[in-house]
């Protein structure tokens, strides 16, 4: 089966009109799209993804996922992307067991319409994840605290509430970026077919320790 063939489409009403949430957008889908103005660079915050070409690159990755929130005809108002960890990341040592929910963002102009929940939920609603430890890392320096009007700890709680809805739970790690600030977090969702031994390997890896034989 083609990786992108089981993508889903959901329509969501917002105060700014209907938004289409589309999962697993395939390579070639992004050419005529543009980022809505509430995504981008602001005085104290920049979007993780700053141009549409980045989506094309993610969709080309092996089992890369791009889920978009689209305001017809051509505006991207939110995105959720995922991929296997890069080879230079600690988590890549467990191969394709690990899958990173790498970024999720909604335009400042479209927040409060549950687009993040819809994008995340529809992306994770895939049997693919039952063999994976899906993980997210939240770094407070990426968060739009100013736009959200929240403190870092309030924003952290908001992130935890969002991911918890889909079976994620917080775990601890000494990975330097996560450990740098107390607000930072790592959350995981362990697929139903992930073996106990693999979970143990991941636990030790979180602390940079070889598991006992």
């Amino acid at each position: 089966m083609n990786w992108n063939s089981n993508g889903k489409i959901i329509l969501q009403e917002t105060v700014r009109g209907t938004v289409t949430v589309k999962t697993k957008c395939a390579p070639g889908f992004f050419g005529n799209l543009k980022l809505e103005q509430g995504l981008g660079s602001f005085a104290h915050y920049s979007s993780i993804i700053k141009n549409v070409e980045a989506f094309e690159a993610i969709a080309h990755k092996k089992q890369g996922i791009v889920t978009l929130s689209l305001k017809e005809p051509d505006e991207i108002v939110g995105y959720c992307v995922g991929w296997y960890p890069d080879p230079d990341e600690r988590w890549s040592s467990l191969g394709e067991l690990m899958y990173e929910m790498a970024a999720i963002e909604v335009s400042r102009n479209y927040r409060g319409a549950n687009l993040a929940g819809l994008m995340l939920g529809s992306t994770l609603d895939d049997d693919f994840f039952e063999d994976k430890i899906a993980y997210m890392v939240g770094f407070s320096w990426h968060w739009d605290l100013e736009g959200a009007g929240l403190t870092a700890s309030q924003y952290r709680n908001k992130m935890m509430a969002l991911y918890s809805r889909f079976g994620f739970r917080e775990v601890y790690t000494n990975e330097p970026n996560v450990a740098l600030r107390v607000e930072n977090l790592m959350m995981i969702r362990v697929g139903s077919r992930v073996a106990a031994e693999d979970q143990k390997r991941f636990r030790y890896l979180r602390f940079g320790i070889k598991p006992p034989k």
């Binding site: 104290h44 915050y45 407070s140 320096w141 605290l145 100013e146 403190t151 870092a152 700890s153 309030q154 952290r156 709680n157 935890m160 918890s164 739970r169 917080e170 775990v171 601890y172 107390v182 607000e183 977090l185 636990r203 030790y204 979180r206 602390f207 320790i209 070889k210 598991p211 006992p212």
Partner: protein, 188 residues
């Protein structure tokens, strides 16, 4: 708030620990834990939880609105190696703060167990909407804990000179350390 417990931590020697809230059923393991605390340190405990009877009463009266006790349990044998308590005042005017007290068995103090416990308490406090954590340490006795707190961005807020007296009658300073948990965008 507590749904993510137990939380696993692996120490640098490969010991797997589970951090979780203490329960009444932990009484036996807690009794053993407090019995292993060196006698000179027992002297400074504000609650005599080394006394099994007092420990029993204390466990029964735990109200998580005001006290959150978290323990670190060895996964292989179930023994408790560290204990941290978050105390939240009942007064509305002080609900935004919490005091923490942490105790780690000597054999585990070089394994950063205390650091993980304090970090866990900070995250738990943030989940509860607490704005400031306050820790008190006895100068000259709890240097490892002070260092752990400094690494986690606690700052020395005050020193109460000659505040506590040890068993030999010698006065010691009490160091009060504070950690602000509510950073805004302008703090970054």
């Amino acid at each position: 708030m507590l749904q993510d417990y137990p939380k696993a931590v692996v120490t640098c020697d490969g010991t797997s620990l589970l951090l979780r809230p203490a329960q009444v059923s932990d009484e036996t393991a807690l009794t053993e834990f407090f019995a292993k605390i060196p006698e000179p340190e027992q002297w400074f405990l504000r609650e005599k939880l080394t006394d099994p009877e007092q420990l029993h009463k204390w466990l029964l009266k735990i109200d998580q609105r005001f006290i959150l006790p978290v323990i670190a349990v060895r996964e292989d044998n179930g023994s408790i190696v560290a204990n941290l308590r978050l105390y939240r005042p009942a007064a509305e005017s002080l609900r935004h703060i919490a005091h923490l007290r942490v105790m780690v068995l000597p054999d585990y103090r070089h394994l950063k167990v205390g650091s993980w416990m304090i970090l866990d308490s900070m995250k738990l406090a943030m989940d509860l909407g607490i704005e400031q954590l306050i820790a008190e340490f006895i100068d000259g006795l709890e240097q490892a804990a002070i260092q752990a707190a400094l690494k986690l961005d606690f700052v020395r807020q005050a020193v109460l000179p000659n505040y506590v007296k040890d068993r030999q009658g010698k006065y010691r300073d009490l160091i009060i350390m504070v950690r602000n948990l509510q950073r805004e965008w302008s703090d970054f």
